[in-house]
Amino acid sequence: MTFHLDFVKHWKLWFALAAALCLVGLFGIFVRGLNYGIDFTGGTQLQLRFTRAVSTTAIDAVLDRQHLSQSTVVYIGSGHREVQITTPTISEGQRDTLLAKMHSVGPYQEISTNRVSSIIGKQTERTALLAVLIATAAIIVYIAIRFEMRFALAGIIALLLDVIMTVGIIALIHIVLTTYFIMAVLTIFGYSMNDRIIVFDRIRENLHKQRKNEPLEDVVNKSLNQVLMRSINTSSTVMLALAALLVLGGASIRDFSLTMLVGVFLGTFTSLFIASPVWMLWRKRDDARRRASVRPVRAD
């Protein structure tokens, strides 16, 4: 199977689509806001399994009496028996009292507790940002050395779009952010860059074989068509694995898988439709400039 699709002809359409998605992402991040979990904000999360169905109003009442009315209570699974209570940062003593009072709602078993102080939370966020910055710099340097600067910057632009769109969508769905989220975003970082390099590698190779008077558009189109099958096959394989994790992996891994799934899909899209046209337009502009600056010299 070989393809003859014209990827770069409609670059304005793809850029507009990416810009629209990006706006949606920015709306999600800044208007709706990210739903930070206790890994970031600090706080206590208790998971309790009651022996019979309980109502959240009864639990809320207990929380109110402990002056913890900002807490949230959600059911886990079906049957209204297992609940997850998230409270602001509380001390060990407060937690013990809360658990003791909770017996008035009904007999229960404590499944898990997760207590994070806000100091750690702040650090988690700072570390994540630092990791993203360092990774970006390192990847730019690597591609600039192995390929050329234009590839590196085109790749990073597409990568930024990926991250904004993915994080924005996660913000829109209002998934609670945990440290898993950071892992997912950084993996998307690596994965979609990986994807772009396959495309860039092919462009680089075809540039060496470029015939005289063969337009740059044709070289890029040919390269994209050649790697298309691989892009589809690999992305769908990774997405299959992620879908299995999403459906079967249990609560803690579900959000991670969903974030990755969105990121992998968008990464494949930007590799094919954004990164390469950006590089091509850039290169053409540079070429035109060079010609413009060369001509007057010849005229002399």
């Binding site: 898990s112 690597y142 096959n233 690999t234 299995a244 803690s252 891994i253």
Partner: protein, 403 residues
């Protein structure tokens, strides 16, 4: 040539299948792995050492604090506890299968500072000079029998000589426990701490704390995570099921796209899985839920190398090359792209490994090992397979790749 290739191929597959069978059925490799608390149930806590007047937080104090925590954990009878320093001022403690986690935690971070003071409040002897402390019952009361070491005995003898027939108040963590009157000089360093113990257990706990020594720094609990054994078990079942189904889907997709070549890529993928788990075992990595997600994800990415190679080989065949020539050129052209693309993922993984902590580190490690191993299996092993298939003239490679 042809027969030898078929023979070599069959032998290679047989050896790999036998090895796979051994490590999955007869002596399952999964049984030798060390699992994290999220899969076993238990408690993991992070303490922050905080300086107090006269007790700065330095490397010595941290080492001493870890030593004391280890002593206390051992007394709890927890199997395979993990106590380690994270960064300059933090200590994490992982305890599996503790019945009453919060109580254990409380006990671990507690200090037991024993001070015997003069009537005027001058510190004469401290718990640092104890050689042993034992909880016991004496005269129907719960007590702690104290024995001082030679230095402590000297000090105690001097104190009881100087303050004979006076009161020598005993403080525990700055709180007055009792103020016995000295009846006679005590030369042998034996003393009894009585009063204030409601149960023998309480006396024994205090004795243990005294014996382990006072923590040189104040430990503040930064984060605690407790996971019940039930939840851990559920997670194992869910992860196992997800892993099996994900791997099966990947394997089927490869066979669907690349037929016989895909099947051999799957065998290489199987070898990859065993090598990855084996490597994690070798570096004593702890398998956690994100670690398992990392393993599954890396398998999805590991087939990428084969997808790139096979797509390349297919192109060369379409261009009219013979199978053997197409395979050689396809592999050679694909390698550069594979190396460059894996390098960026490796860069992200390395940065995650050095900046992250705990779970994140484990995930990054899995990813790093996975990238390197996948290059070996997907490139070296699969190439050998495909060459043998081509040499065997078996299965009409051309049709297989061109599809």
């Amino acid at each position: 040539m042809r027969q030898r290739s078929i023979l070599a191929l069959v032998a290679l597959v047989a050896v790999l299948v036998a090895a796979g069978g051994y490590f999955s059925v007869i002596n399952p490799i999964t049984r030798h792995l060390q699992y994290g608390l999220d899969l076993r149930g238990g408690i993991t806590a992070t303490y922050q050492a905080e300086p107090t007047p006269g007790a700065p937080v330095n490397a010595n104090a941290m080492a001493k604090a870890i030593e004391i925590l280890s002593f206390r954990v051992n007394k709890l009878g927890v199997s395979e506890p993990v106590i380690q320093q994270v960064g300059p001022t933090r200590i994490t403690v992982d305890l599996a299968g503790v019945k009453n986690p919060e109580q254990a935690l409380h006990y671990l971070g507690e200090t037991a500072l024993l001070q015997i003071k003069s009537p005027k409040g001058k510190v004469l002897v401290t718990g640092a000079d104890l050689s042993s402390a034992v909880g016991a019952i004496a005269n129907g009361q719960y007590v702690v029998d104290l024995s001082f070491n030679s230095k402590g005995s000297q000090l105690f003898k001097a104190a009881t000589t100087k303050y004979l027939h006076q009161q020598l108040p005993i403080y525990l963590n700055g709180k007055l426990v009792e103020a016995p009157t000295v009846d006679s000089v005590i030369p042998n360093g034996q003393a009894e701490l009585s009063g204030g113990f409601a149960t023998l257990k309480q006396a024994q706990n205090t004795a243990l704390l005294l014996q382990s020594g006072a923590l040189p720094v104040k430990l503040k609990v930064l984060s605690v995570e407790t996971i019940s054994a039930t939840l851990g078990h559920q997670s194992i079942v869910a992860s196992k099921r997800a892993a099996v189904i994900a791997i099966a889907l990947i394997a089927l997709a490869m066979i669907f796209w690349y037929r016989l070549a895909g099947l051999f890529a799957d065998i290489a993928l199987g070898v990859y899985a065993f090598l990855l788990v084996g490597a994690l075992w070798a570096v004593h990595a702890t398998i956690t839920i994100p670690g398992i997600a990392g393993i599954i994800l890396s398998m999805g990415m590991a087939v990428d190398a084969n997808v790139i190679i096979f797509s390349r080989v297919r192109e060369e065949m379409v261009a009219g090359k013979t199978p053997r020539a197409a395979i050689e050129i396809g592999f050679r052209n694909a390698i550069r792209a594979i190396m460059d693309s894996n390098a960026t993922t490796l860069i992200s993984a390395i940065i995650l490994f050095f900046l992250g902590s705990g779970d994140v580190k484990g995930f990054a490690l899995t990813l790093m090992i996975g990238i390197v191993l996948s290059l070996v299996t997907a490139v070296v092993l699969t190439r050998q397979f495909i060459r043998l298939v081509a040499d065997a003239g078996w299965a009409r490679v051309r049709a297989v790749f061109v599809g």
